[in-house]
């Protein structure tokens, strides 16, 4: 803008108007910076022409904007032509923060990629170090890897965040300390790593340790600012996406390995030792970091998948559970108590808990109650009912089975989830009646993270001691 125009008060407002119009345009992912520039050039020329015909700047602006077309129609037209832009977006340099599509790979974005890849390779290498000391990867030969798997993956995810975010030194020490302490304690446990015995408490530790340590990753994720449920909720969202990406990468890896076998079999070369000892372990470890980076890179680009899946499955699960309860009532059949029933019910609660968590993670807390909220409450309510019925059936028989560590941990997990879902149902019902704000549900879930992690730590670290490492 030349200085002469700046003296004119309306000139500033024209610039502001154009600026507002352009930022409106840029909201669509289909319109890139250079497109907006092209359109802006058009708009300015139109305004200039109209100005020459005697229109005031305001009038000229209005007419020009009208002629160039409504922004909605324009972005729709651009989206039709550049439909790829609505999809692709995961550029390898994926700078998730950049407004709109990344046109040129940003230096920061590609640095993040390289750090992530380096850490992934480091995780893969770390996975092979125990192998140098003759420890086999095969869990049928030694249980060293299952016990320590968390230490070959989670610290690298945490390290990525520690590099990527401004993590205070105290938090770094805290996170690193948690990992070191856990590694020392678990490896000092006198478990029998030989796979002959049935190592109940060892398996419990293997299952619960990652849940506990995930909290340390969370501290790194939130950059040490653990207080405030907003950041913790982000971490929950991240967890869901990471899980989905990891599963997808694992599926791809499975296809890759399968094809590798087939191809090399065709030329009569046995690649199984190579795949078993190198590709699989290094892939399992490295993929966690790659998935982490992917989730971060795609964060603002792709809709979160976990809430989408939750939305799809909440009505279906609600329907199945309702049908189950109704059938039980109609036929008068009781739950047949078998050994695995507790595990099955736990799994059901975990799924319902996950559906609820990821559904509320995506819900606008200010939106008024809707039909979907009722569906969700129905789901949680019926899950609770089924759980109570199952527990009641088990309760009368539990003394017959005896309290093994497995059963106790399953029962404990059941109670932990039961309390969570009961609390959620209570708050949800109050929210639906207009009693409390929706955010109460958030804070309930976010506070409950401690309970879950605490119980997991209890099982991972104290059960082996209590049950004599059997």
């Amino acid at each position: 803008m030349d200085p002469k125009q700046q003296d004119d008060p309306t000139a500033g407002s024209l610039e502001e108007q154009i600026e507002a119009w352009r930022s409106h345009l840029r909201r669509s992912r289909a319109i890139r910076g250079s497109d907006a520039e092209e359109l802006e050039d058009h708009l300015r020329e139109q305004i200039a022409t109209l100005g020459e015909r005697g229109l005031s700047e305001d009038e000229a602006f209005l007419v020009a904007v009208k002629r160039i077309g409504a922004i909605d129609a324009l972005t729709r037209e651009f989206a039709r032509e550049h439909s790829d832009r609505l999809w692709k977006q995961l550029v390898l340099a994926g700078d998730g923060v950049g407004a709109g599509g990344a046109e040129a790979p940003s230096a920061y974005g590609s640095r993040r990629m390289w750090v992530a890849l380096t850490l992934a390779v480091a995780a893969g290498v770390a996975m092979k170090i125990p192998g140098l000391f003759g420890i086999p990867f095969d869990p049928d030969a030694s249980l060293f890897y299952p016990v320590n798997i968390a230490f070959f993956t989670l610290p690298f995810i945490a390290a990525y965040f520690a590099w990527e975010r401004p993590l205070p030194a105290s938090s770094r020490a805290w996170v690193a300390g948690a990992f070191v302490l856990a590694a020392v304690v678990v490896n000092a446990f006198p478990f029998s790593l030989a796979p002959v015995a049935e190592p109940h408490t060892l398996i419990l530790t293997v299952l619960h340790l990652p849940i506990t340590l995930w909290l340390a990753v969370g501290v790194a994720y939130v950059g040490g600012r653990w207080r405030g449920s907003e950041r913790r909720m982000d971490f929950i969202r991240f967890t869901g996406e990471l899980f989905i990406y990891y599963v997808l990468i694992a599926l791809g890896g499975g296809v890759l390995i399968g094809l590798t076998f087939v191809l090399f079999e065709a030329i009569a070369i046995d690649v199984e030792p190579l795949v078993q000892n190198w590709v699989l372990p290094c892939g399992v470890a490295g993929a966690t970091v790659v998935a982490t980076w992917l989730v971060e890179a795609k964060q603002s680009v792709i809709e979160n998948m976990a809430p989408v899946l939750a939305r799809i499955f909440i009505p279906l699960f609600a329907l199945v559970l309702l049908a189950f309860v109704v059938t039980m009532a109609a036929t008068g059949r009781g739950i047949d108590v078998e050994r695995q029933i507790l595990i099955a019910i736990d799994l059901l609660l975990v799924v319902v808990f996950g559906l609820l968590l990821y559904s509320i993670s995506a819900r606008d807390p200010l939106a008024p109650p809707g039909l979907f909220d009722w569906l969700q409450l129905t789901l949680v309510g019926t899950a609770l009912l089924v759980d109570v019925l199952a527990l009641w059936a088990i309760g009368s028989r539990i003394s017959d089975f005896g309290f093994t560590p497995n059963r106790l941990s399953a029962l404990g997990m059941n109670v932990v989830l039961l309390v969570n879902l009961a609390g959620s149902a209570f708050l949800y019902a109050r929210f639906l009646r207009g009693g409390v704000a929706f955010s109460r549900l958030w804070s309930w879930q976010m506070t409950y993270v401690y309970v879950i992690a605490g119980w997991a730590a209890f099982v991972a670290f104290l059960f082996p001691v209590l049950f004599g490492f059997r």
């Binding site: 250079s34 497109d35 520039e37 050039d41 020329e45 077309g69 651009f78």
Partner: protein, 126 residues
């Protein structure tokens, strides 16, 4: 007279290619030229030209470059490529065939039915 949207869309490719075949140009000037040629009958929403240009560019019929305009701003100029000229020639043949056919049927119609049909304004035919 307003021209049917489908017709506008269908004619946009040959029109833009032909205007660019006259010489390199940019969006605003192309639209001015369209207005001039059609006498205002072909009303495009200005912004819709750009997706068309981008489509042509993607299919390799035109190519673009940024230049500094005399206003000091950057301006995106388009130039028709060799493939674009071929496409234009092809479009021209097709449009001519359509045009010839229509002309023949119009004149056959006016001869057969007489003057009362011909007096109906053209706009009501489209």
């Amino acid at each position: 007279m307003s021209i049917n949207k489908d017709l506008v869309a269908a004619s946009s490719t040959p029109l833009v290619l032909a205007i660019l075949a006259e010489g390199d140009s940019y969006g605003y000037a192309i639209l001015q030229r369209v207005r001039e040629l059609s006498g205002g009958a072909l009303e495009w929403t200005d912004g819709m030209l750009y997706p068309v240009l981008h489509r042509l560019e993607r299919s390799g019929l035109v190519e673009s470059r940024w230049e500094k305009a005399d206003t000091g701003r950057r301006r995106k100029y388009y130039r028709v490529t060799e493939a674009g000229r071929e496409q234009l020639a092809d479009e021209r043949r097709q449009w001519r065939a359509v045009d010839d056919t229509l002309r023949k049927v119009w004149s056959a119609l006016s001869e057969a039915v007489g003057s009362d049909v011909v007096s109906v304004p053209f706009s009501q035919w489209s």
